[in-house]
Symmetry: C2
Subunit: 326 residues, 2 copies
């Protein structure tokens, strides 16, 4: 393996100088610098991240733990973030927790072992205090994404309350009488801490419209409660639906199809996740403003002030209004 030593020898300088050229932390004369760069390129030298990380105690790596591999929305977030980080010389280490508390714990351990500078995660439980505290103690910046579970951590999230408020307003203004909210329940989360936002927005709109007739269904993540959803939808017969993500949205579409119901004639629809096929099907969707989200995340990562107040950064979503909510 070609090491910094080989480069130094080839460029006729000390390893210290080579290191300086690589890290740009100190000045070297142009001629020497060029010689070193030539040697690096000639030998195909690549800095050993492990040696560098060990010595400097800092790595340009951000870790992220995502709770669900299949979520298209999350994948888009990941893609944007990775691209932005790479641009500034950072790497993104992505792990998946599969909505499982122990996987989350293990992921934290992996990332701590990997000396990441920050950990972004979508919490799947509110019981992993210990490992989070350990990460913090090691100087790792920990940020919860989308789910505001730990009150001592900063949060970057979509403003779900606003989104649901907006969606419900739209539906009610278009004459909905029996609105239904399909919410998300996170398994292994003793007290659900996300859904309230959505319910609150929904509820606020209802009361502003002087409306009391409604239904809420909490969709579990793991136990495939499709049958249960079908029962509830058939039983309640909503004339408007707000669905918390595109995957559940597809389930709703299946049920409607089976029932022979059409949108917007029989049921008005608003889905979370403004993705390609949802647009194609002319379904009104909550656009979670991915670019803004990414920007907010980066800003939070790299330009955090020193004050220790906990922050809750909410990204305002935008409704993409289409035929399904007419």
């Amino acid at each position: 393996m070609v090491t910094i030593k080989d480069v130094a020898r080839r460029a006729n300088v000390s390893i210290a100088t080579v290191s300086r050229v690589i890290t740009h932390k100190s000045c070297v004369s142009p001629e020497v610098s060029e010689r070193v760069l030539d040697a690096i390129s000639d030998l195909g030298y690549i800095t050993d991240s492990y040696a560098s990380g060990l010595r400097s105690k800092t790595t340009k790596t951000v870790g992220i733990i995502i709770s669900n591999v299949k979520n298209v929305f999350y994948n888009n977030v990941l893609g944007n973030l990775e691209k932005s980080l790479r641009k500034i010389g950072y790497s993104l280490f992505t792990l998946y927790s599969a909505e499982n508390a122990e996987e989350e714990l293990n992921s934290f351990k992996s990332l701590i072992a990997s000396k990441v500078s920050s950990i972004i995660f979508t919490p799947v439980t509110n019981t992993n205090h210990k490992i989070i505290k350990l990460a913090l103690k090691r100087g790792i910046d920990v940020i919860q994404l989308f789910r505001n579970v730990y009150d001592y951590l900063d949060t970057v999230a979509i403003d779900d309350e606003y989104a649901c408020y907006d969606a419900a307003n739209l539906l009610l203004d278009h004459g909905a009488k029996r609105p239904m909210l399909i919410n998300v329940r996170y398994e292994s989360m003793p007290n659900d801490v996300v859904s309230p936002d959505r319910f609150n927005g929904f509820s606020k709109s209802l009361s502003e419209h002087g409306h009391t007739e409604y239904k809420v269904f909490d969709y579990g993540v793991i136990s495939k409660p499709f049958e249960k959803l079908r029962e509830e939808v058939l039983a309640y017969s909503p004339d408007a639906l707000i669905v918390s993500n595109s995957s559940f949205g597809l389930d709703v579409l299946k049920i409607l199809k089976e029932k022979g119901q059409r949108y917007p004639q029989d049921v008005k629809l608003v889905f979370f996740d403004d993705i390609d096929w949802v647009a194609y099907l002319e379904i009104t969707a909550v656009n979670q403003n991915l670019d803004l989200l990414n920007k907010a995340l980066l800003e939070r990562l790299f330009t955090r002030g020193d004050d220790s107040t906990v922050r809750y950064i909410k990204i305002p979503p935008v409704l993409s209004v289409r035929a399904s909510s007419d």
Copy 2:
């Protein structure tokens, strides 16, 4: 930071013993082992990957470079792989090349610097020989995924030729007279090395059916040639379409909708990527057999023999036949 030293002190043993307990490579007496494990848990000790990686020159990390963040199929592959690797104590380091040769080069450098044991990648060019050779020289196992670009590397891929042959047979047997193949062209790939497979399968089926009337459209990845596709489809008026991925599939659906054409009445359809919304829309799809693919990938990673013959592992896809091809 709590190091192996602290654990050793707390357990009243030497650091060597602690190391042995952690790595399981040598025997330690049960009592001592327990004492060490207690100390580890008490102190919240986590092995420093960087020190460990530096010293042992080997890390339990597989690197993967994916060319397109938005590709649902790739994301599913990633999810499965990460899960399987984690189960056996490995991490997956995911990077994205954005169909860009230089990004691919940088990704390779990152992964080499990170001492990964293997690099899996979906090649975006056939010009990155140098860095690949460097990786190989360092003992890194390099595998190309889905695209057979470098003839000295093992390949794991979907059997695209078979998939297209199968799909074309289905369409022709159902009476298609003007079949069209929407293929993928990889930008920055001087001579397209993937599409031929699909075209060959398509072509083989055609000739077996004594058919000469057909059209092929090569869909570029970056330049958004949606308009071009529309022109070609409108000009040729196919009565059957095979579309190389679900994203292009949606474009095709838009064009058909605009044209007022219905499937299967006016146009028969087969899409690559058997995902949820494609199934919902009753579109016949090429199911790429994700489980089998994952299994093959793992087997290739961990049970490769010592012989140096280059392998091309093809995963047989399965058609999910639905109404769109009737």
